[in-house]
Amino acid sequence: MARPPQPPPRPAQRGATRQSQNGPKKPAWRTQGFDFKLYLRQHQAFLVESFTRLIGHPLASIMTIMVIAISLSLPGGLFVLLKNVQSVTDQWEQQSIISLYLFPNLEDTEALSLSHQLASRADVASVEYISKEEGLRYFEQSSGYEQIMSTLPENPLPIVLKVIPKAIVDLNTLPELQGLRDQLQGLPQVEHAQLDAEWLQRLATMISFGQRFVYAISALLVIAVLLIVGNTIRMAVESRRDEVLVMKLVGATNSYIRRPFLYMGFWFGVLGGLCACLCILLLSWWVSSPAARLIELYHAGFELQSFNAVEIILCLTISAMIGVIGSWVAVSRHIRDIELQ
């Protein structure tokens, strides 16, 4: 349960610090101890009271809650989308290949010994040796350039070593594989090393772009929600100006006056977050069957992911915090500025 970031002033302690100041006499009337039970009871009462107030103005409350919910479900939805893209690629288990094009002037024996050397590496599963002749045959078969090839005086193809790394390629192992590629590229016999995972590299860039996009959108919308909550609470304070003044007159501390409004912000945050979670769950349910069909075309056994329990709790916590902070910012100054005259 979110609580205001700061505890209210403790009468006894504040009193004690004030008393140590100068003055002809100590005020003896401010030495009551801090009562924790009382503090909890008051909070509980405020929690209930602020909720009843929310229900008391159902239309205004629902509008605010819906605005918060919509603002939060956009980043939440994007987050789920991103999560699914990532999980699809994680399940796309594939062996990658690093093709090493050796220098054309390299002797067969040298190439063979390099191939053995590489095969014994810990991070390499196997190495396939493709001689110039095999390359040519393969090329002729697959490309239909037979005629052109036969007109050439000499076989132009280099010896190719197909290195199959042990690591399965996915977004997590990609940097490792790229490292291996760079290492192999550095070998003196290798003219060019090519990691055959371009699609994955592109996806990785797109995902990191997507992540940044989601972060930026989230930041903007969080600010929007802060402002919405702040504005709603400010209006609530303004509509209860008389009450604030009377409370000040009878000796309420600013933190006491502030508390019901912070709780109001808390409720707006929690209820808005709850609605956002519902929106996201509904939306994922709605797209789940077409998405599954789409994914089946490429890969079987994939399940669309939505918000899980942890993420729902996280979403609620964050939205509750936004609610409390938003109302805190709006209310603190405002209540201080409402002065008795």
Partner: protein, 223 residues
């Protein structure tokens, strides 16, 4: 509670001297009236005691404590010891009589049992025990005024300040209200009442402080 003003002056931001060189001493358990023409500075004097405004010169001692030594955070605790009936801070019409009177207790954190007892005791004193569940809107002007007094005394303050508590009441109701203050004074509460109603003040036979253009021109006998 004891109140002592020593050459107190209050200059508002507008530059107007609402009070100047005001000195008096209200002893523990004493009752006094504060009179003077409109604009003489009566409300200002009460606001200084409540720390709603701060004096610009001089010293105000409450039970020997100089109010200037109390910081912003001490103000609420100071106010809890003083019961006030101010005309522009009347009842809240969004809640029952009971919850209006209970407000000072809630603010200082009394528990529900205690709150119930004290509120009923205060309503009993002003003779409105049966009306606790009503909305104050449903009460007459005089009854509302008495609810305000119940709210002022519910916390058992040692000082009671009332600014024009009989403002728009008929003479009979006015003297009823004044008698109420007298009763609180009899049980040891220090009482200071600002009033225009010189005839009523004279009848009450208490000390009278008179302000004129922000200066204390009479302290003692009846007006």
């Amino acid at each position: 509670m004891e109140i002592e003003f020593q050459r107190v002056g209050k200059k508002y931001e507008s530059g107007h001297d609402a009070l100047s060189q005001v000195s008096f001493h209200l002893r523990q358990g004493e009752m006094a009236f504060l009179t003077g023409h409109s604009g003489a500075g009566k409300s200002t004097l009460m606001k200084l005691i409540m720390m709603i405004e701060r004096q610009t010169t001089g010293q105000i001692l409450v039970d020997g404590v100089d109010l200037r030594t109390l910081g912003k955070h001490a103000i609420p605790y100071h106010r809890r010891r003083v019961g006030v009936v101010f005309q522009n801070h009347q009842l809240l019409f969004d809640r029952s009589v009971f919850h209006n009177v209970a407000l000072p207790l809630q603010v200082s954190g009394a528990d529900d049992d205690q709150t119930g007892k004290r509120v009923r005791a205060a309503l009993d004193k002003v003779g409105l025990l049966g009306k606790e569940k009503l909305n104050p809107m449903a009460l007459s002007g005089g009854e509302q005024q008495r609810i305000g007094i119940a709210r002022a005394v519910v916390n058992k303050p040692q000082l009671l300040l009332a600014d024009e508590p009989t403002g728009n009441l008929d003479p009979r109701l006015s003297s009823e209200i004044m008698n109420l203050f007298q009763e609180f004074n009899r049980v040891g509460v220090t009482v200071l009442v600002a009033s225009h109603d010189l005839a009523l003040v004279a009848r009450m036979r208490h000390r009278v402080l008179t302000l004129n253009q922000g200066r204390m021109v009479n302290d003692g006998g009846f007006a």
